[in-house]
Symmetry: C2
Amino acid sequence: MTTTDLAKRVYDHTWKLDPIVRSLLDTDFYKLLMLQMIWGLYRDQQVTFSLVNRTTSVRVAEEIDVAELRDQLDHARSLTVSKKEMIWLAGNSFYGRAHIFEPSFLSWLADYSLPDYDLAIRDGQLELSFSGSWVDVTLWEIPALAIINELRSRAALKGLGRFQLDVVYARAKAKLWSKVERLRNLPDLRISDFGTRRRHSFLWQRWCVEALKEGLGDSFSGTSNVLLAMDNDLEALGTNAHELPMVLAALARDDAALRRTPYQVLADWRKYYGGNLLIVLPDTFGTAPFLRDAPDWVADWTGFRPDSAPPIAGGEAVIAWWRARGRDPRDKLLVFSDALDVDTIEKAYHHFHGRVRMSFGWGTNLTNDFAGCAPTPNGNLKAISLVCKVTDVGGRPAVKLSDNPGKALGRPEEVARYLRVFGSAGHVAQPVLV
Amino acid sequence: MTTTDLAKRVYDHTWKLDPIVRSLLDTDFYKLLMLQMIWGLYRDQQVTFSLVNRTTSVRVAEEIDVAELRDQLDHARSLTVSKKEMIWLAGNSFYGRAHIFEPSFLSWLADYSLPDYDLAIRDGQLELSFSGSWVDVTLWEIPALAIINELRSRAALKGLGRFQLDVVYARAKAKLWSKVERLRNLPDLRISDFGTRRRHSFLWQRWCVEALKEGLGDSFSGTSNVLLAMDNDLEALGTNAHELPMVLAALARDDAALRRTPYQVLADWRKYYGGNLLIVLPDTFGTAPFLRDAPDWVADWTGFRPDSAPPIAGGEAVIAWWRARGRDPRDKLLVFSDALDVDTIEKAYHHFHGRVRMSFGWGTNLTNDFAGCAPTPNGNLKAISLVCKVTDVGGRPAVKLSDNPGKALGRPEEVARYLRVFGSAGHVAQPVLV
């Protein structure tokens, strides 16, 4: 007797669709933290988020079925936060703090659903954007990216036979487990999953997170994915992202105000969060200018997340700055999160060990590394550098400079203006992998 | 390619055991409500709970493997309430009320695990008992019964082939769904699952609960099983049980105090709960004596749960009593929970419809009706009347009279004393089915 669940098989095959996003909590935790601040301080600000494919050689709109993309986006729009999820958000402790979300914010969230989207195709690329109040559209970022990336994976695997598929996943599992075995050799490592947006698929991310939980034990500090944190009794992790300084910078009235925005963001953040949530993301308009102009109180924050500088150079710059400000780096935390894999993790770990506290937010190379797993080379299984960023703020263009010019975003004349205001000290061109 | 998950298969087959109870919330909700009251008022009271098999023709200790029973009980002892479960208990609303559990009670519960047990075999029966503080041992009742009942099911199915097993469950599913289709014809029916303790198995109860959720929609008002309520965003239902009056009666100093205990229990309950949780369980020492001696404020409670009288006669007696006390039965609730199946539910529904509010707590015939499902008649698949009741209270014997002498429990001379105190008015002998 072969074990086929007849009802399941027929049900599956008559499905309208196999949803990619099944919960509004299937998102990054920092989106919820930022959302509460946006809801509190900037809820009516009009913005547009747009999809940007930095891997221009990949014509995404030709890889996936655009009608299916619409079905998946529409399905995500049908979701609300469930009762059990609301209870967990209200009752769980995050970063050691209870009641991190205000009751009035949670009441608003209980009625929330994702707003409408604009989708067009141009030149083989998706033109997908979300316009409206910042508080309404910001949550689209993660599900939109997760949906497109999983549709790419599904398309890439479509022609494979059953054994071939079995072997693809067998290889991917073996590959991840070898990484786990290497990471196990690093005592007091603190590593977490940051791989929601670029994951191969939801089920694969779940496998990876549960594998790290079993394989790394206490070294696995949690996941940025709120749903997986809830389901597995793990810590939900993450702090803040570039959208905060990008929106505030676009709103600045003049160059002097623009220069102050990176610190205004931190002042806003402090109104809502403390302790280990006081992590500076310094690279939106360049880390070197950020450090040069930072008020002294920024050095009292718990740590920094260098997100586009090379880890060692970026970390050393922050350590030197802490020292110059009279702080002991051993009391401080560096959160590495840019394009990490085991090699870079090991290198940064050994380089900084004992000199500063460290944690690693492992993203794409955790949840979407299928290189060498397909039966024949399959470029469509390779993760691409797809982002969903704020591009317009009430009619004014948004800009990100980054420490890596390859990650800069914005209209060229506006990028030039920001470069005049902040300077380009410390910029290092690097290939943008993911 | 046949779909066998190799890792799963090997893992399953090298298991020490396949746990029956995997969560302390896999219990009846009313045990938690009672537990909070016991914790608040009687936490140090020493008691013994004992297993009683009222179906004496079935020699349980010969049907199951007693070593496996010990393994399962030991596994249950290893459980604590998980973080996610604690958050849900603290944050969920029950019966429309938030924060039904006090923070200090929940702190105590977070450290709780099931205490030791005594197990012996005599004359083909299990002598299983739990002695200690009431607050420690009371939670054993449901997992102990669920474990023994599922071990019986497993033993009963052991010799069957794969197709035979598939057909057993196919028949059971078809049978349950036919009941669902009949119940769907009753408008405004309110029915819930009360079948944890006598279920065929955990997975089967879960199937039944999820089937009722889909099949009955709003008519399915929830489940007494706390874990299934949490996992399925259903209402957790249940109020109180015979153990409260049984313990308090055993502690009564004289006959006059004994006569007052049924009302003392209600007065205790009122200190903790209100609204729809004010449901009287009147039959511990006979419903007729209870009604005869009840103070007037008992008629202000929301409803009654007649648990051993025949539903129609029992319900009519309560309705007549409400009328005599000047209350309108249409504002009141009758909760039927004794040996229900579709026939009795339909009969009671039609008899009382429009005259009183009703709800049905469907137990054994929901979660353990495999009559006619096995390939050959298999008595071992038939649910038996197994209970786990308080038998000793600090050295004094506990007694239950019930409206059905077949359900009476206690030492004969003590039963005789209780009958002298309360009288035997209204007793109706009925076969005890489950």
